[in-house]
């Protein structure tokens, strides 16, 4: 997927520039990498601060307590997962990481959760209902602290970089709620069809 996408961007970009007679094409190709360095330099401090703080939350057991609290909600959303299954722990850790805007830290937990859900689905290669629900939660993204967005806003000189937090929280909860309804709807429709 990413192979096609990346080449498509480059090929379409270069050909369209040539057709439009964009004289900066060569310069752009050779210098656009500087933007990548700027971006990483601005991401590093926030990433370090947040992962450092989260490490403390992890070792002190605070993260565990929070994910335990979350597991009640998880059972409502995932009716097919049996009580006390390790899948619940991984799913809640993944959701917490996403909530805190740590998408990259969330991925390992997400993959572990998927593996547990596959085991619950008797190792079939067909996606189970719980798997799709889990994906929907991930793709509609429950965010409380949009870390990277805030750092990019600081980089671009925002006078109040975190002012978008409330709007983001409202949006993310509304859209996740609707996405979960859609997930239920499609599950029922699909069951009828099969």
């Amino acid at each position: 997927m990413i192979n096609y996408l990346w080449s498509l961007f480059l090929i379409v970009g270069v050909i369209y520039s040539i057709i439009k007679g964009n004289n900066n094409l060569t310069n752009n190709l050779l210098t656009s990498g500087t933007k990548a360095i700027d971006m990483i330099i601005n991401l590093v401090p926030l990433m370090c601060l947040w992962l450092g703080v989260m490490k403390i939350a992890d070792t002190s057991g605070l993260l565990n307590i929070v994910s335990h609290k979350l597991s009640k909600f998880i059972k409502i959303i995932f009716p097919e997962i049996p009580d006390g299954d390790p899948a619940i722990g991984y799913i809640s850790s993944n959701i917490i990481m996403n909530m805190l805007g740590l998408g990259n830290a969330a991925t390992p937990f997400g993959i572990k959760a998927m593996k547990e859900l596959k085991r619950l689905n008797k190792n079939s290669d067909v996606a189970s209902r719980s798997m799709i629900t889990f994906l929907v939660i991930n793709t509609s993204s429950v965010t409380i602290i949009p870390t990277t967005v805030i750092s990019l806003r600081i980089l671009n000189g925002s006078s109040n970089a975190s002012e978008i937090m409330t709007a983001t929280i409202i949006t993310t909860f509304l859209s996740t709620f609707i996405a979960l309804l859609l997930d239920r709807l499609f599950y029922l429709l699909w069951r009828k069809k099969v």
Partner: protein, 170 residues
């Protein structure tokens, strides 16, 4: 109050760590090292994506497509400038970050467009990438209705972002 959420959470976490007699400083340093690693591991992907995206954006093709679609989206009060972000976010997280950065530097982070783009970026996720990664990593071949639901919820997130920002900041 919400503006102080991050510092407050930080001191709560540190306070709880002290209470539980965690070796706070060393633990923090371990996390920082991880953060550095994560950021450095992100660099090649971001670098590769930035080059491809700047080729695409400097050719102005996304702008031309957005302009072409403008009349339709203007009718429903949709800020067309965020259209490239909405189109790219489901496909690639790092490329949408680059687009967000472009939007913020061009229109300003505190403008309506900048705010919509920020909320949009924070409240949607890379559907196609996540489905690909998660299902590929555990060997799922039949993905059923997951892609449809995923993309539909992205569309809903985009619409809600515009609505909420219009209401919240008006």
């Amino acid at each position: 109050m919400i503006n102080f959420l991050i510092p407050i959470m930080t001191i709560i976490i540190i306070g709880y760590g002290l209470h539980k007699k965690v070796d706070i400083f060393d633990t923090f340093i371990t996390g920082v090292k991880e953060g550095l690693k994560v950021a450095i591991n992100l660099f090649p992907t971001i670098f590769a994506m930035i080059i491809a995206i700047s080729m695409l954006t400097s050719s102005n093709i996304l702008l031309d497509i957005s302009n072409f679609l403008k009349p339709i989206f203007l009718k429903i009060n949709f800020p067309v400038e965020t259209l490239p972000l909405a189109l790219l976010k489901p496909i690639s997280g790092s490329s949408s970050l680059v687009i967000l950065n472009d939007i913020l530097s061009q229109y300003g982070p505190d403008s309506f467009i900048g705010r919509v783009a920020s909320v949009m970026q924070g409240s949607t996720d890379t559907t196609i990438y996540i489905i690909g990664l998660y299902f590929a990593s555990v060997g799922i071949k039949k993905i059923k209705y997951s892609l449809v639901v995923g993309l539909l919820s992205d569309l809903i997130s985009v619409i809600i972002s515009v609505l909420i920002v219009s209401l919240y900041f008006s």
